[in-house]
Amino acid sequence: MIMEGFTPIEANLIWAVLLIALISIGYGFWLWRQVQHKAADEIAAAGATLVSGTQVYLAAGRGMLAVAVLGGAVLMAASALLAAPGAAAVQQFGSTAEAQTWVAIGRAGALLIGAGSVLLIAWLGLGASAQANMALIPAARKGYPQALQVAYRPGSSSGLLTAGLGLLVSTAIVLVYGAVSVDILLSFALGGVLVAIWLAVSSGIGASAADTALFPTDEPGVSGSAGLQHPVTVAGLVQRSASRVAAVAADLFGTMEIALVAALIPGLMLADIASGATGDGLYAFSFVLFPLVLRAIGIVATIIGTLLIRTDERKRNARAAINRGLYIGAALALVAALGISYIIVRRPDAAVFDWRPFCAVFTGVVLALLAIKISEYFTSSSAQPVKLVSRFSAHGAPPAS
C-alpha cells in the first residue's frame, strides 16, 4: 500500500503540508476578521442593505443547489457500486465488495465535503466583501495604503481559505485512499465545481442583467439612476461581489483540485513503474508527494506576497504594489520548489536529482506572470491598446470596430 515505506523526510513533509494547510485556513480567517466593520454608525446603516442582500442571494437558489449536490452524491455512490472496482482498489481493501463500499462512501462523502467547503468559503467571502464595502470608507479616510489593504483582503482571505481547505482535504484523501485516491479526488473536485457553476450562473448573469436594467433608456418609468436606494443597484452590487469573490474562489478550488488529480493520475502510474514491477502495489511516493508539497509552497508564497502588498501615500500605486507582491511571491515559490525537489525528487533509474519536475513548475510560474503582463498590456490605460480605442472613440462610431 502507498502509505507504507515513507522515508522520515517524506513523513515530515506530509506533516508540514498539513500544518501549512491549517495555517492557510487560520490566516485566511484572520484576514476575514480584519475587514469586519464593527462600528454602528451611518456607514453601517448605509451598508445594511448589502449585508442582508448577501444572505438573500445565498438563500435564493439553495433548493436548486441542494438538489444538484445531493443528487450528485447519490449518483457518485451509485457509480462506485455499479462499476467493477479497479485492481488497485481490490488490492488495497482486500475484497471486491469491500473496495466497492469504501469507494462509494468516499465518493459521496468527498462530493458533499467539496460542495460544503466551497459553499462555506462563498458564504464567508460574500460576508467579508459586504463588510469590506463598509470598512473601505474609514480606511479611505485614513489614506490610500489602508484602503488598498481593505480592498485586497476579502478576496485574498477567500483564496487562502480555498487553498488551505482544498489542500487539507486532498492530503487526507491521498493518505487514506492511497492508490485509489484519484477516484475520490475527482468527486471532491466535482462537488466544488457544482457549487462553482451555480455561483457563476447566478451571479455572473445576474450582475450583468442588473447593469442592463440600469442602462439609461427613453422609456418612461425606468430610471437610469444608481445609488443604494435603488433596488437594482443593490442587487447588482451583491451579485457582482458574488461573481468576483465567491465565484472566483469556487473556480480556484475546482482548478486546483483538477490540476492535482491531473498530476496524480500519471504520477501514480509513474510511481508504480518506478518501484518494483508494475501492479505490485509498491509505489515511489515522491511522485505523489511533490504536487501536494508544491501547493503548500504556493500557500506560503501567497501569504508572504500578500504581506508585501504595500504602497505609500506618495506613490498611490496599487498595481506596482500588487506586482511587487506577485514577483517576490513567485521568486520565493520557485526557490522553495527547487529546494524541496532537490530533497525528494530522484530519477528512478539512477537515484540522482531529477530536475525535470522543477522545470515544469518553473514554466507554469513564469507563464502565469507572462499572462498577467499580456492582459495588463491589452487592458491597462497606460498602454497602447486602450489609448487607441479611446482615441478612436473621440470621433464617433465608425472605425471603432
Binding site: D218, R240, A262, A263, R319, L388, P399, S401
Partner: protein, 378 residues
C-alpha cells in the same frame, strides 16, 4: 478596435498554452517509451499547479474592483469627502485591469489543468485496455502533446487574422478620406494625368483616387496575411512535425468557423437593429436607442465583412498550403530527429513575433491621429 485587441490578447494566451505543453514535451523529451507520455502529462499538470501557485493572491486581485465599487456606493450615501472618494475611485479603476489580468491566469490554469486531466485519463484508460503498454498510436491522438501544441497554434491563428484585419480598418479609412478632404490638388493632378477607362470615366476623379488609395492601403495587410498563411504551416510542420500540423488544421477550422459564424450573426443582428430603429421603432432616429445602436451597427458591419470573410478565406488558404507543404518538409526531416534545437528556434520566433506586435503599434497610432485631425476639421 476593442475586438481586435481582444482577439490579439486571446491569441497570445492560446500561444502561452501551446508553450506550456511544448515545454513539458521538451523537458521530458528523452524519457523511454514506456513512461514518455505519462511523464509529459505529469509535467503539464505540474505546470498547471505552478500557474496557480499564487492562487490566493489572484483571487485577492479579482475581488478588488467589486469591493471598491460597493464602497463607492456607500460613500454616495454617507457624503464622503473628496480625497477618500478619489482613493476609492482610483482603486476601482486600477482594480478593473488587475482583476482582468488575474482572471486570464485562472482561465489559462483551468485550460492546462483540463488538458492534463483529460490526457492523463485517456492515457490511463488506454493503458488499462492494452495491459500497461502505451501504444505509439497515442502519438497521433488528440491528447498527444505535439497535437495539442498544433491545436492551440491553429486556434490562435483566426484570432491573429481577425485582429490584423480589424486593426487595418482605421488606416484604410484614413486613406480613403484623406485625398478628398485634405488634398484637392492631388485629386486634380490625378484627373489631369489619368487616362480614364470607360469604368473610371463614370466616377468623379476624387472617387477614383479614394478607391485606388483604399485598395492599395489594404495591400500591406494582404502581404502580412499571405506570408502568415505560408509561414505558419511551414514552421509548425518543420518544428513539431506532421502530428502538430494535423492538430493545427483541426484547431484552425473549428476556431475559425466558430469565430466567423459568431461574428456574422452578431454583426447582422446589430445592423438589422439599426434599420429597425430607423424605421421609427423604439424612439426612432435621434433617440438614445438610435445613438447606441449606430455604434453597434458600425461594429457589426466590420464584424460581418472584413472579419468573417477574411477568416474563412484564410482558413481555406492555410489548409491548402499545408497539404502542399507537408510532403516537402516530410522528405527533409530525418525520422526520430530530436527537436531540441527546433524549440530554440520556436522560442526565438515567438519572441520576435511578440516584439513585432508591440513595435508595430506606433504605426497605427500615427494613422489614428491623422484620422482624428481630419474629423475635427470636418
Amino acid at each position: 478596435m476593442g475586438s481586435a485587441n481582444g482577439a490579439e490578447a486571446g491569441m497570445w494566451n492560446l500561444l502561452l498554452l501551446a508553450a506550456l505543453v511544448l515545454s513539458s514535451a521538451s523537458i521530458y523529451g528523452n524519457e523511454p517509451p514506456a513512461t514518455h507520455f505519462l511523464s509529459i502529462g505529469y509535467g503539464i499538470a505540474l505546470s498547471a499547479i505552478g500557474l496557480l501557485m499564487l492562487g490566493g493572491m489572484l483571487s485577492g486581485m479579482q475581488a478588488l474592483p467589486s469591493i471598491a465599487e460597493g464602497g463607492a456606493a456607500i460613500g454616495d450615501l454617507t457624503a464622503l469627502e473628496k480625497n477618500p472618494r478619489n482613493v476609492i475611485d482610483d482603486l476601482t479603476f486600477v482594480g478593473k485591469t488587475i482583476s482582468v489580468s488575474s482572471r486570464s491566469v485562472s482561465m489559462l490554469a483551468a485550460g492546462s489543468a483540463l488538458i492534463a486531466l483529460l490526457g492523463a485519463s485517456y492515457l490511463s484508460f488506454w493503458a488499462n485496455q492494452t495491459g500497461g503498454d502505451v501504444p505509439e498510436l497515442f502519438n497521433s491522438s488528440i491528447f498527444a502533446p505535439l497535437v495539442l501544441v498544433g491545436l492551440f497554434i491553429g486556434a490562435a491563428l483566426p484570432m491573429l487574422i481577425i485582429s490584423l484585419a480589424l486593426a487595418a480598418l482605421p488606416r484604410v479609412a484614413a486613406s480613403i478620406a484623406q485625398p478628398t478632404a485634405r488634398d484637392p490638388q492631388a485629386s486634380k493632378a490625378a484627373e489631369a494625368e489619368g487616362k480614364p477607362t470607360t469604368e473610371q470615366a463614370k466616377l468623379p476623379a476624387d472617387a477614383t483616387l479614394a478607391l485606388r488609395n483604399s485598395t492599395s492601403a489594404t495591400m500591406p495587410v494582404l502581404i502580412v496575411l499571405l506570408s502568415l498563411a505560408v509561414a505558419v504551416p511551414l514552421l509548425v510542420d518543420f518544428l513539431f512535425g506532421l502530428e502538430s500540423l494535423g492538430g493545427m488544421l483541426g484547431g484552425l477550422v473549428v476556431a475559425g468557423l466558430l469565430l466567423a459564424l459568431n461574428q456574422t450573426a452578431a454583426g447582422s443582428t446589430w445592423e438589422q437593429a439599426l434599420s429597425y430603429i430607423e424605421d421609427g421603432n423604439i424612439g426612432g432616429k435621434n433617440s438614445s436607442a438610435h445613438r447606441a445602436v449606430v455604434l453597434s451597427a458600425a461594429v457589426g458591419r466590420a464584424f460581418q465583412r472584413p472579419a468573417s470573410e477574411v477568416v474563412i478565406a484564410l482558413i481555406k488558404g492555410i489548409a491548402l498550403i499545408s497539404l502542399i507543404v507537408a510532403p516537402i518538409i516530410g522528405s527533409l526531416r530525418q525520422p526520430g530527429q530530436s527537436f531540441g534545437i527546433s524549440i530554440g528556434i520556436a522560442v526565438l520566433v515567438f519572441l520576435a513575433a511578440f516584439a513585432w506586435s508591440v513595435l508595430s503599434k506606433p504605426a497605427s497610432t500615427g494613422s489614428g491621429q491623422l484620422s482624428t485631425k481630419k474629423t475635427t476639421k470636418r
